[in-house]
Amino acid sequence: MRPVPNTYIVILSESERSPNVLTLSQLRFFTLFRMTNLTWLITSLTLLLLLTSFESKAQMIFDTLYLDEMEIISTQFNFSSPAKSQNIDTLTKRELDHLSLAELLTANSTVFVKSYGKGGIATAAFRGTAASHTKVLWNGFEINSPMLGQVDLSLIPNVFYDEARLDYGGSSLETTSGAMGGSINLESNKSKAREVLNFTQSIGSFNTYISAIKLSLGKERFNSKTSIYLNSSENSFSYYNNAIIPHEWQKQENAAFYNGGFTQSFIYKISNHQSVEILSWNQWNFREIPPIMSNQQGGDNEEQQKSFTSRNILKWKFHKTNTVVEAKAAWFYEDMNYLLKTTTAINHNDTVTFINSTNISNTGFINARITHNLNNGWLVSAELMFNKNTVNSNNYSEIKTRNSYDLFLKINKDFAEKLKGEFMLRQKYVDNGIIPPMPFLGFSFKPIKNEDFYLRLSSNLNYNLPSLNDLYWYPGGNHDLIPEEGVQFDAGLNYSKTYSEFISISMDLSFYDSYISNWIQWVPSDNRFWTARNIGFVHARGIESGVSVNGVIDNLFYKISGQYSFNKSTNESDEAIEGEYSGRQLIYVPLHSGNIFAFFSIKKYQLNWNSQFTGKRNTSLNEETHYSNVLPAFSISNISLAKAFPIKKSEIEVKFKVNNIFNKSYQAILWRPMPGRSFEVFFTVKIK
């Protein structure tokens, strides 16, 4: 038998962070450590066999079902890595594919999403840190706004990417810097498309219409993938307004939103070793911003935000024997317009306030990365990146630019299959100087020979640059700001086992401890306006846990996964100690949060249940007293039922969904109402 080229080893090592390995009941046989060349050959052939057999016509419904499920399940937790990394479950993504990253993270991750309501802005608080400490990357490039430093997760439709990988804490140094909480890595074109055309149309309460189209065409060398997304809603839900006197039921007004966009990829395989990819993501967004519950009376006011973003990537990839080289360039453009128009109460044509703020940002990236597999278990990766941000805003005194260079080095070593070490170093240069280096050192240990049980430990430094608003906003921006500094520790364990085809379990438990100093806060200055200063010192620590159970019992396939996290995040700066508010939980960071996602599939029916629990949140740094200082805990549950009707080579699926089935009344942000029970109907056509 001729030896398998080492290509396979290199590729799979590279994808270590996001193993899309099929969780067959045989997974226990396929541990990355113990694979030999021959085993890899057979594995890959088996996989190929399975994939192709999936495409064949239906045999017994059960068999087809089995394969179907196999392709869906993916290993969520990255077992052996010293750095904590987790793929969002594919089933969750498919259930929420018509929505945005905000809903996906809320449903099945420990990242807390702070949302202003459906269609409203949604930002992440990963491990009790600020929204700017969560970096979202699309195919390796940060999409955080250079002005704000954060991302609006509600404007990232799930159909515009295939996989979402969460890199917690220091493991985010793999792709970016400054993500003290973690990074969310969105990858496109990762999996072979299952259908040529997938078209979903949904109609929901409050005049909500969503259309999502995915088209995949191509032959052997050339592939084209298109995704189109349209989403509109009047968002006119009823709620009980208990912020006015007398309390009364009201209908939410001025909260409509419309989003639309498309992504287009062309992938061309130059040879077996080289490929070129072009990706483009273009999106138009519009949303109205409603007043808070206590301010419902008052002129005919208009507050809205609209934006256009265009993100374009050109990627070239080359892999041969033990080496993978990737070079890519990107250009991101964003044009954001904010409008506020208030009128007097007596004459709705008498305009009082008129703010029309335009902000245009252009970001260019160039990135080159090389990964090389030496022998004896050494893997080395090096990356060079150049990034240029340019912002033209009427809130800055002039056009502002920032250039930065990143140098990245990673060394992995497998010691005797029991111990794995990972060292990373990211070094950043920004126009006005060198940022201190950001090292990461981690180990994972496999104590028991035949069990998928790993212990991991890591520590790292991280630096987050101030956003351009922090530096240049007029008035108040402070160009003397220094980067925020993070010192982080992580420990965890994970375990997975397949007991039988009835049940497989995987679980992960993590502890993290982060110290972030020079945290940038906007505080009142001696002048009338506020200014940005490096004054915070935040200690964020906690526990994250997740369990996932799945299996097949007779005809029934099930998967249940649950997460719980405890995040204690307090400001321990000198000011906080003097002001006697150190030790209090930061605002809008819940101490406890959790979720459960349950999926059942039998014959052609699918049942999906999802519950999310959010604990109490402080809305101010005062000692807990009454309602307006603390928002109470709440939990929301959603359920959906779908049936698929196969028609020749295609399939039609009908789904009915109930959101917030217990009709809970809750607030994610103080005095901003949320909808009660609502319904959605979906029609999906899949043509293979």
Binding site: N295, T353, I503
Partner: protein, 381 residues
């Protein structure tokens, strides 16, 4: 390796063999597993579907010897509140509006006024003025839609005037039911309101939504309900008081971007003639919250520190009354009927402030916690 393949295919066989030998065993597994799972699942579902209702806030008694602190809250956060302080017993209660009426005070509560039986609270960004009972604190009425109300003054038994930051009108309301009676066009935005006999003095604090310069005090005749006079003062007049000689004192900050020096004006309220103008030396001075002692011989204002000044002074001879420490952020000032001076400290605007009570001789008597950004202070008879 080959073994593994065989295992896999043999598993397949097992599964497809639904009616084979393994049935019994599988059914048991199924039964037991599914029972455990279902109950676990149902348990978790129930856990998620029920959530404790929050406990209601403890009740507050009747208002007595009341000093009210109106906490502005953060703009657009809707977290304004009302603090109640009994100046005899030193009892302090936070969030009394919410606790009495089960609804938040609203967004940016700006001022408080009193008449015999009621308390009027102007909530600027909620576009409303609330009327509550002065003993029970319970809601009685509220105004319909207003634009950006700031202050309220009672002009007679049944009527009150409301100033506005955006509209170039004063709103006249019926104090019984808070309905709008009429609007008085004044051509400028309005802030402070002060009544002397049949006249109401109105400061034009802000240049927002007007073309004219914000350096006027207007005079309204309450019989004709028309503007009869205007007095030019410095830019951005932010507070005014009357002394016992019918002199009107107006404090001007000099403008948001410090266009001119801050100034203090003494005007004869009857003749409307300017008697004196005192200029502040430092261009960066932004003095606010002009107050006068009950004996009406001492003025107080905030200019980072708290200053006091004798009204008979010929020059701006203000002396520091309370010096602000490094951590102080003095925000507002009020003087009680007993001449005690109440000073509020807004801290960093994101957590509860403090209120300090000083005697007229400058000795601190006590302090208590306020709410978020403690602003206007109201003293009820």
């Amino acid at each position: 390796m080959t073994n593994k393949i065989v295992n896999k295919s043999s598993l397949r066989e097992k599964r497809s063999n639904l009616n084979g030998d393994g049935v019994k065993h599988r059914r048991d597994c199924f039964g037991r597993t599914s029972l455990v799972m279902t109950s676990l699942f149902v348990g978790i579902v129930l856990l998620f579907s029920s959530c404790k209702n929050e406990e209601p806030a403890p009740a507050v008694g009747e208002f007595q010897n009341a000093v009210f602190v109106v906490n502005e809250g953060n703009f657009t956060n809707g977290n304004a509140s009302l603090t109640y302080f009994n100046h005899q017993t030193s009892e302090v209660e936070q969030q009394v509006f919410y606790r009495k009426n089960n609804a938040p005070l609203g967004d940016v509560a700006n001022s408080i006024s009193f008449d015999e039986n009621s308390i009027y609270i102007v909530v600027n960004n909620s576009h409303v003025v609330y009327k509550i009972n002065s003993i029970t604190g319970l809601y009685e009425a509220k105004t319909p839609e207003l634009t950006s109300p700031r202050n309220l003054i009672i002009i007679d038994e049944h009527r009150a005037l409301i100033s506005d930051l955006y509209e170039n009108n004063l709103t006249v309301v019926n104090t019984l039911n808070m309905e709008i009676i009429s609007k008085i066009e004044i051509g400028r935005t309005s802030e402070n309101l002060l009544k002397l006999d049949n006249e109401v003095f109105i400061t034009n604090w802000s240049a927002y939504n007007q073309e004219l310069k914000n350096n006027m005090v207007l005079v309204l005749n309450t019989l004709s309900m028309e503007i009869t006079d205007s007095i030019q003062v410095g830019v951005e007049p932010n507070s005014m008081v009357l002394d016992n000689d019918n002199n009107l004192w107006v404090l001007c900050s000099g403008g948001f971007m410090n266009e001119e020096r801050a100034s203090l004006w003494k005007i004869d309220a009857k003749t409307k003639l300017v008697q004196k103008r005192f200029n502040f030396e430092d261009i960066n001075s932004s003095p606010t919250k002009l107050n006068i002692s009950p004996s009406a011989n001492t003025l107080y204002f905030i200019n980072k520190d708290i200053f006091q000044m004798d009204i008979s002074g010929s020059s701006l001879s203000a002396i520091p009354f309370v010096l602000a420490s490094e951590t102080n952020n003095f925000y507002s000032l009020g003087i009680g009927f007993d001449s005690d001076i109440y000073i509020t400290d807004a801290n960093d605007y994101s957590r509860n402030g403090e209120v300090y009570r000083y005697s007229a001789s400058g000795i601190i008597k006590e302090q208590f916690e306020g709410g978020l950004i403690p602003g206007a202070i109201g003293f009820m008879n």
